[in-house]
C-alpha cells in the first residue's frame, strides 16, 4: 500500500522484487530474438539455417531427429534397425537419456549429501580436524573439477558408475565444507544448554546441531545440487555413451544445432526442476526459521 507510493516517489531504499510477468516476457522475447536472428543469419550467410535454425525447424526436425538417440530395449525398433524418425521414437529417446542423466545426477548428489553431512558434523566436532580438512578442501576447491571427468572414465570405464562417482566427488566437498563451517559458526550456548540437560553428544548432533545448521546449509545444498548437475553434464559430454550430455556431444560432432537446442532445453528443464525441488524440500525442513 504505502510502500508502493513511497517507493515510486522517494525511493531512498527501494527494493525490487521478482515478477512472474517479467519472467514470461523474457522467455517470449528470447524466442522472438532467436527467430529474428535466424532470419538475419539465414539471409546473410550460406550456412545460416544450420547455425541458427528457425523455430519451426527446431520444433520439427529438431525433435524427430532425436530418434537415433533411442538405443532400443524398450520395445520399438531403433533407427539403426531401420525404423523411421518419428515423434514417438524421439520421445522414447528423450525419456531414455533423461532417465540415465537423472539417475546419475540424483544418485551422485544424494550420495554426496549422505557422506558429506555426517562427515562434516564429525569433522566439525574436533577443531584441529576441521582446520586440517579445510586446508585440503581449500586446495581441492581450486582444481578444474569439471575437466577431470575423463579421469573417472579411465578409472571406472565409460559407465554409469564413473558418472555417479564423479558427481559425488564434485558435490561432496561442497557439502562437507559448508557443514563444518555452519557448525563452527553456531553460538556456543546452543550446544551447552542441552548438555546441561544431559543429552549425549550423538543426541546433540542429531536433535540440536543438525536442525540449527539447516538454514545455513540450505544455500550449500543448493550449490551442491548445481554442482552435481554441472558434473553429470561434464561426465556425459566426455566419454560416456548415454544420457543427455552424450546426445549433446553427438549433436555438436555433427553440427545439428536444431537437435542441440532441444537436448539442451530438456537438460535445462530437468536441472531447473531438480534445483526447485531441492529448494522446496530444504525450505520445508527449515520452515521454523522463517
Amino acid at each position: 500500500m504505502i510502500e508502493d507510493v513511497g517507493t515510486r516517489r522517494f525511493g531512498v531504499a527501494l527494493r525490487t522484487r521478482p515478477r512472474n510477468r517479467a519472467l514470461l516476457a523474457g522467455v517470449l522475447a528470447g524466442l522472438v530474438l532467436w527467430q529474428l536472428l535466424s532470419l538475419l543469419v539465414g539471409a546473410t550467410t550460406s550456412q545460416g539455417q544450420n547455425v541458427v535454425p528457425p523455430l519451426q525447424q527446431v520444433l520439427t526436425t529438431g525433435i524427430t531427429g532425436l530418434s537415433h538417440f533411442y538405443k532400443g530395449g524398450w520395445g520399438p525398433e531403433t533407427t539403426l534397425q531401420g525404423a523411421e524418425d518419428s515423434v514417438p521414437l524421439a520421445a522414447l529417446a528423450v525419456l531414455q537419456n533423461s532417465l540415465a542423466t537423472l539417475v546419475r545426477a540424483w544418485a551422485g548428489y544424494l550420495l554426496a549429501v549422505a557422506l558429506g553431512l555426517p562427515i562434516g558434523l564429525a569433522v566439525a566436532a574436533v577443531r584441529p580436524l576441521r582446520q586440517a580438512v579445510s586446508g585440503i578442501a581449500g586446495l581441492l576447491r581450486m582444481l578444474p573439477v569439471l575437466a577431470m571427468s575423463p579421469l573417472f572414465a579411465l578409472w571406472f570405464g565409460a559407465t554409469t558408475t564413473a558418472s555417479i562417482a564423479f558427481v559425488t566427488f564434485g558435490a561432496f566437498w561442497v557439502v562437507l565444507l559448508a557443514t563444518a563451517n555452519a557448525v563452527n559458526s553456531l553460538p556456543a550456548p546452543l550446544t551447552e544448554y542441552p548438555r546441561t540437560l544431559g543429552l549425549t553428544p550423538l543426541q546433540i548432533s542429531i536433535r540440536i546441531v543438525l536442525p540449527a545448521i539447516l538454514p545455513a546449509l540450505r544455500g550449500a545444498l543448493m550449490l551442491a545440487a548445481g554442482t552435481a548437475w554441472a558434473c553429470v553434464l561434464a561426465s556425459e559430454l566426455y566419454g560416456i555413451q548415454s544420457g543427455l550430455g552424450w546426445a549433446l556431444n553427438q549433436t555438436l560432432l555433427y553440427t545439428l544445432v536444431d537437435q542441440m537446442v532441444v537436448v539442451a532445453g530438456v537438460f535445462a528443464g530437468l536441472s531447473l526442476a531438480s534445483l526447485r525441488l531441492v529448494n522446496c524440500v530444504t525450505g520445508r525442513l527449515t520452515g521454523w526459521s522463517e
Binding site: M1, I2, G6
Partner: protein, 237 residues
C-alpha cells in the same frame, strides 16, 4: 515562518494499521519540541514523514513553506535504531554528511566524548558509543532542523546529561528547530519549549514549557514541574 506545517497527516501501513490519523501540527522556527507517547503510537512514523523518508497516505507536510519531497541535508535525523555504516571509521562516519566540514567534525567528536577513538571501526564501539557517532555525524552536517528519535535512550545517565547540555548549547547558539522524540517525561521537561503527546493517531496534548533555563537538578524540587510531570503521566495513560 514555521519550520513545519503538518495538515491532515495520515499514514496507513496496512489495512487496520493506521498509526497516524488526520494529525495537525505547527512547529515554529527555533522551537525545541518534544514528542511524547507510548510505544507503538506512531512517533517514529511521524518523524520519518518529517524527514521525507515516508510518503504519507494522506495530508501534506511543509518545511519552511515548501512541501517535503524526500530527504535532504537540511533535515538531519538521528535514528532510533543502529544505522551507522560499519565500514567507515569513527572519523569518516562523522564526516559522512554532504555539508560537514573538518572543523565541525573534530568539534563534535570532542563534544560527544569520542576523542581518541577516531580511528576505530564501529564494531569496536559499544552500542551507546555508536549512537554518539550518529549524533555527532548529524550535528557536524549542520542541518537547519534536527529530528531525533529517542537518541539518548540507550545511554547511561552521565553521558545523557552531558549530551543534553550539548544539544541545548547547540540549540541556543544556532537557533535550530529540534523535534525530539522520547518516552521519558523527565527528559522532555528538562529539554523542551513545548511538549506534544501523540496517541491514537493524533495530538492528545499540547503543553508549553516555560521554566527558566538552565533547568538541571533544581527542577526536581519545583512544584510546577512536578505538577506538569503528573499531568503528563496522566495523559500518557
Amino acid at each position: 515562518m514555521n519550520a513545519f506545517e503538518i495538515r491532515g497527516l495520515t499514514v496507513q501501513y496496512q489495512p487496520g494499521i493506521t498509526p497516524l490519523k488526520n494529525l495537525d501540527l505547527d512547529v515554529p522556527n527555533g522551537q525545541f519540541l518534544c514528542v511524547l507517547g507510548p510505544s507503538g503510537q506512531g512517533k517514529s512514523t511521524l518523524l520519518r514523514c518529517l524527514a521525507g523518508l515516508l510518503v504519507p497516505t494522506e495530508g501534506v507536510i511543509r518545511a519552511q513553506g515548501k512541501p517535503v519531497e524526500g530527504p535532504d541535508a537540511s533535515r538531519g535525523m538521528v535514528f532510533q535504531q543502529d544505522a551507522i555504516p560499519g565500514w567507515l571509521r569513527v572519523r569518516d562516519n562523522v564526516a559522512l554528511g554532504s555539508r560537514s566540514t573538518d572543523e565541525q567534525v573534530a568539534h563534535f567528536i570532542r563534544a560527544v566524548g569520542l576523542e581518541g577513538r577516531e580511528k576505530d571501526w564501529p564494531r569496536q564501539l559499544s552500542g551507546g558509543m555508536r549512537k554518539r557517532v550518529a549524533i555527532a555525524a548529524v550535528f557536524a552536517n549542520d542541518p537547519d532542523i534536527l529530528l531525533m528519535d529517542e537518541p539518548f535512550s540507550s545511554l547511561d545517565h552521565l553521558t545523557r546529561t552531558g549530551l543534553h547540555e550539548t544539544v541545548l548549547q547547540l540549540w541556543e547558539e544556532t537557533g535550530k528547530t529540534i523535534v525530539f522524540v522520547t518516552h521519558d517525561v523527565d527528559e522532555a521537561i528538562t529539554l523542551a519549549d513545548r511538549i506534544v503527546i501523540v496517541g491514537r493517531g493524533g495530538v492528545r496534548a499540547d503543553v508549553p514549557v516555560t521554566f527558566p533555563r538552565p533547568r538541571g537538578e533544581n527542577l526536581r524540587m519545583d512544584v510546577d514541574a512536578n505538577l506538569l510531570r503528573a499531568a503528563l503521566l496522566e495523559s500518557l495513560k
